[in-house]
Each structure stands twice: as C-alpha cells, then as structure tokens.
C-alpha cells in the first residue's frame, strides 16, 4: 500500500484543479483483488482493461489540455517580456516591479510545467504497478503488452512540455542576474516556500524519492532508488514552511 499512500498524499497536496485527474489506484487495486478471487477472471479481464483505458483517456485529455495552455502561456510570457523591455518605462521603479512580477510568474509557470511532467510520471508508475499486481494475482499476461501501449500515449510522451521547460529555463537565466548569494539570503529564501507552486514542486520531489525507496517486491522491472544529494536541504523546505500543510 506504500505507493497507494504516497499517491493519496500527493493528490491531497497537489493543485486543486488536478486532484480528480490522477489514477484511481485504490479502486483498481480492489478490483484486481476481486477478480483474482472470482472464477471467471478471463472475462473480467476485459472489464479491467476497459477501466484502464478509461483512465488513460482521462490522463490524455487532461494532459493535452494543460499542454495546450502551456503553449499559449509560454508565448504570452515571451511577448510580455518583450513588451516591457521595448516600451518606454514610466519609471525605473515601475519597470523593476513589472520585472519582479514577470520573474515570479515565469518561475511559477516553469514549476507548473514540471508538475505536469510529474503528473504524467506518477500515473505511469501507478499503471505499471497495477498491471504488475494484476499479472501476479491472476497469472495473466496483461502487463507487458499493455504497458507498451501506455508508453505511446500522449500523456506519457512529454517531450514537448520538457522542451518548453528547457526554453523557460533559458529565459529565466536571462532574467535573473547572476550574483553571489550570501548565506543569510539563502535562509531567508527557505522560509518563503509558502503556498505557491514552490511547495508543490518540493513535495513532488520528496514524493518521488519516497516512492522509489526499496520495496519488498523489487524486481528486474523496478526502478532503482532515487539518490538526491540535496535531500536534506529540500526536506528542510517542507519543515521550515511557516504555513501548515492543509
């Protein structure tokens, strides 16, 4: 139930509009258990596959909607920056303010896109797990070919979003002056994790690590554990957050 717990936790912490879009891992697990105890599981398999396909559709639809949004917003951000830089600034202060807003927006936008990639990943992982459970419980051969199909789905082919993320990073590099950062600055920054996208991305990173911790059913199809050199630092973001997790 480890993944199930992690997934549930993640869903609770994630962006509100996204909560319904994740895999119904718990229900599917129940179904697998049910199927394995029923006698005619050959026919139940069709039902199971039907449900899985529905889940896949759900992912695809949501993913592509978000992707479309990202394409539009990406372009708009670029134009906004262009406008600010090209137009006559009313005052230095206003320019700075607008740039500060843009910086915040673009960093959050970057985070949101990464969260979508994370969404894709978590759902894939859940699918792989549920298929593995199915095969294990019913002695079926569903997993291998089915997962091949999943790999080709729009929601898993995140190349475009990743490309937008990288482009975003380039823009961010240009917007953020490179300076040497004092230790106090870093600490002050840590306390500002707050409510925003930052909190979500930190949480996602930690969840990923947890999910990939060694499990009792580690096999040749499992991913190795995630090694994050900055784990402690990142974990401190969550602990130091002044705003309690809802």
């Amino acid at each position: 139930m480890k993944f199930g717990k992690r997934l549930k936790q993640h869903v609770e912490e994630t962006l509100p509009g996204w909560r319904d879009m994740y895999l119904n891992y718990k229900d599917l697990k129940k179904l697998v258990r049910l199927i394995s105890s029923s006698l005619e599981y050959g026919k139940s398999e069709a039902e199971f596959v039907y449900l899985l396909n529905n889940e896949i559709d759900k992912f695809n639809v949501f993913f592509m909607e978000q992707e479309e949004d990202f394409i539009i917003r990406h372009k708009e951000l670029q134009q906004r920056i262009k406008r600010v830089n090209e137009s006559e600034p009313s005052s230095q202060e206003e320019y700075e303010e607008e740039m500060a807003r843009i910086r915040k927006d673009i960093v959050d936008f970057h985070g949101e896109m990464v969260l979508l990639v994370n969404y894709s990943n978590i759902n894939y992982t859940g699918m792989a797990k549920i298929l593995k459970k199915y095969d294990k419980r019913t002695g079926g051969l569903l997993r291998l070919p089915f997962i091949q199909k999943v790999l080709e789905q729009p929601f898993f082919t995140t190349e475009l979003v990743s490309k937008l993320v990288k482009e975003c990073e380039t823009i961010i590099d240009e917007l953020f002056p490179t300076t040497v950062v004092a230790v106090e600055m870093k600490e002050a920054a840590i306390t500002m994790v707050g409510e925003g996208i930052f909190k979500n991305t930190v949480a996602a990173l930690m969840t990923m690590k947890e999910i990939r911790k060694g499990s009792s059913t580690q096999s040749h199809f499992s991913l190795p554990a995630l090694s994050l050199p900055d784990t402690e630092l990142i974990r401190s973001f969550q602990l130091n957050s002044p705003i309690p997790t809802i």
Binding site: L15, G17, D20, N24, K30, S38, E40, G42, K43, S44, E45, A46, Y50, L51, N54, D57, N60, V61, M64, E68, I72, K75, R80, E96, A100, R101, R103, V107, F109, H110, V114, N118, S120, N121, Y124, G139, G140, K149, S162, V165, E169, F176, V181, M185, K186, A189, M192, G194, E195, G196, T201, V202, S219, F221, L223, A225, L226, S227, L228, P242
Partner: protein
C-alpha cells in the same frame, strides 16, 4: 506476443461533461455513459454472474461507476441468458450492435459545424494494413482464450496530411463529443498569425481564423476552444490555467510578513525555487527514460525467448542456464530495428548512477524470465 495488432480509427473525444473517473460521474451525461458501459458489461457475462462482484458494487455505492443503471443491468443480465463467451465489445464486423454506438458516431460527425471532416486525414500517420475508416469507438480482437490481450493502436492517416504536426490523440474510450487534438507551438504560431491578420484576439472569429489557417483536418471546434484559451491568457496573464477557485496569488500576497523582504531576497527565493524545479524535472526525465528502457528490454527478452521456444519446443529450452541465454542474446545476429536490445545512450552522471543501480539487478532477470516463461508454457 501476437503480431496482429488490430488498428482502427478512433478519435478521443473530450467533453467536460463526461468524466470517466471512477469516483464520480458527471450528471450531464452519466446516464448515457452508464448505459454504454452497462451494455458493455452485459456482454461479459462472467463478471456479472459472479455474486461477489455484485456484492462489491453494492457495498461501494459511492465509489462505483454508475450504481443505479448498472444494478438494473445486473438484474437484467442475470435473468436473461447470456450467450457467448465471446468478448466482443465491438468489432468492425459487428456494427449491428447497440444503437448507442451508431448514435455516437453520428453525433461525432454531426457536431462538426458542417466542416465535414475527412476522418482519414486527421488520423495518426502510422502505417498499417487495415485501413478501416469506420467511426468505431473501441475495437478489440475477439478473444479466443481467456488470457488474450486486447490491443489498441492508432490508425494511419492518409498520406496527404498537412505538414503542420497535428496529431489527435487515440485510444478512444470515454466520451463522445468532439475529437481532441494535440496542439504544437508551430500550429499555435500559425494560429496567432491568422488572429493578428484579423485584427487581434477580440475581433477575430473562429470561422475566420479557421479559414486563414488552412490546416487540413482542423475543425472550427478546435479553433473555437483554442481561441477561448488564448483570450483568457491575454486578459489575465499567468492566471488562466488555474480554476476560478484558485486565484494565482500576486507577488505581494504570496509572502508572509513581507515588509522586511527585500526584492533581492525575493529574487533569491525564486532562484532557489527554480533550482528545485530543475532538479525535479531532471529526475523525472531520467526516470522516464529508465522506465522506457526497462520495458524495451523486457520486450526484447520476451521476443528472444519466444524465438528460442519456437526453434526448440522441447523442454530443453527451459533448462538453459542463464549464461547460455545471455550468450545467445548477445551474439544474436538479427538485431533489426524492432529489437532494441540493451541500448547505451549518452548519459549524464546521475543517469549513469541510476543505470548502474538498475543494471545490478539484471543478472537475475534472465533467471526470472526463465521461471515465468516455464509457468506460461
């Protein structure tokens, strides 16, 4: 693994009203979807007759898919003699099935504002033998054994497809209104040019934009919804994708006691945020590549193993030691494109680490495959 992948045209449709979510059904179309699902379910008699399943459905009323109509159907199924064990949800031979599907297809076509889509054109361009242009919703191979595997793959597009990459999603199921399309930055550029020519986002009309864009297969519905998103993004920069319930906090509101937060501190926080996000993204990409590779190898090994079994159907195959199999695999001459085999691409250092971790578990893989295959045979 069977090579006869059944491919048929189907378009994924998205309607905000229809959610295939297990936990709740939207009221708008729940009845329709329920009846479709139920009509499907009645055909798979096994699961219905199993009382355990019924009990489960009754217990989990809140979380079952559509309780009312489904339980009606459950009753119905038990009383009526269910005929074949043939698991045909729908196949191209079987179009005489419940009117639901036909209505669906009609609706899909009718909904299109007379732009008369050429379905062949909007379909994905993967080559396939079966060129059935039928508007099927869901097609599976009729299963002969209890463990056969229904596979769904996208259908080919006609060769003369527009150059702009416009691939609709496939693997249809779920909803029945308009087909969903996958936008790209290039297509969006074309869109924006058209909009600008028409005087901007406020004055441009979907019909006008559609005409100007001249993209084959693009429907007015696609343009309409995209235009809507576009307008929202322009009007409220950086808050368009959040629902109305979640307002994007402005810079001021986001921070705790911010009187003493200087702008450089804010900038620092943002910088840190980006670092974390970059890290997350990097890990996600690595994970995804690993996952792909794992499955590729699994498939490859399976293929190799099946080949072995073909040539030596006797049980001696199963007795082959790990090392023998490994040798055979590595010296296998038929390394065609479809047999990926172990692939070493250029890896970053952390990717290398994870790859190494993964490889450590490999020696046992062959033994496992051996074991599991012996069970299957």
């Amino acid at each position: 693994m069977s090579s006869a992948n059944r491919t048929v045209g189907h378009i994924v449709s998205s309607s905000s009203g229809i959610s295939s979510n297990l936990l709740h059904m939207s009221s708008i179309s729940s009845d329709e979807t329920c009846s479709k699902r139920a009509s499907f379910v009645t055909q798979s008699s096994g699961i219905l007759r199993s009382t355990a399943f019924r009990e489960y459905m009754k217990e989990n009323n809140t979380s079952s898919w559509c309780t009312d109509s489904l339980s009606d159907f459950l009753d119905y199924a038990e009383n009526s003699p269910v005929q074949s064990s043939n698991l045909q949800i729908m196949s191209s031979e079987d179009v005489g099935k419940p009117n639901d599907w036909q209505d669906w297809a009609d609706q899909l076509i009718a909904d299109d504002d007379g732009a008369s889509p050429n379905w062949n054109e909007i379909l994905v361009d993967t080559p396939v033998a079966d060129q059935h242009p039928k508007m099927e919703y869901y097609v599976r191979k009729p299963s002969k054994t209890t463990l056969s595997l229904p596979l769904n793959t996208p259908v080919p597009a006609s060769p003369g497809e527009a150059c702009t990459p416009m691939t609709p999603s496939s693997c249809g199921s779920g909803s029945q209104s308009k087909p969903r399309m996958r936008w790209t930055p290039e297509l969006h550029e074309v869109f924006m040019e058209a909009v600008n020519k028409l005087g901007g986002s406020e004055s441009a009309t979907p019909k006008g934009v559609l005409k100007l864009m001249k993209v084959e297969g693009l429907t007015i519905y696609h343009v309409k919804s995209h235009l809507q998103k576009y307008r929202t993004a322009k009007y409220k920069p950086e808050s368009s994708s959040q629902g109305p319930s979640e307002k994007k906090p402005t810079l001021m509101q986001d921070l705790p006691p911010l009187d003493f937060k200087t702008s450089s501190e804010i900038t620092e926080a943002l910088r840190l945020q980006v670092e974390v996000q970059k890290k997350l993204h990097e890990q996600l990409e690595i994970q995804k590549n690993l996952q792909r590779r794992i499955e590729e190898q699994g498939r490859y090994l399976q293929m190799i193993f099946e080949k072995q079994c073909k040539f030596q159907p006797s049980s001696s195959t199963l007795d082959k030691s790990e090392t023998e199999l490994t040798n055979e695999i590595s010296s296998s001459p038929n390394q065609s494109e479809t047999e990926p085999g172990p692939i070493k691409l250029g890896l970053t250092s952390s990717e290398k680490q994870q790859e190494a971790d993964y490889s450590e578990s490999q020696p046992s893989k062959l033994a496992k495959l051996n074991e599991s295959s012996s069970l299957e045979l």
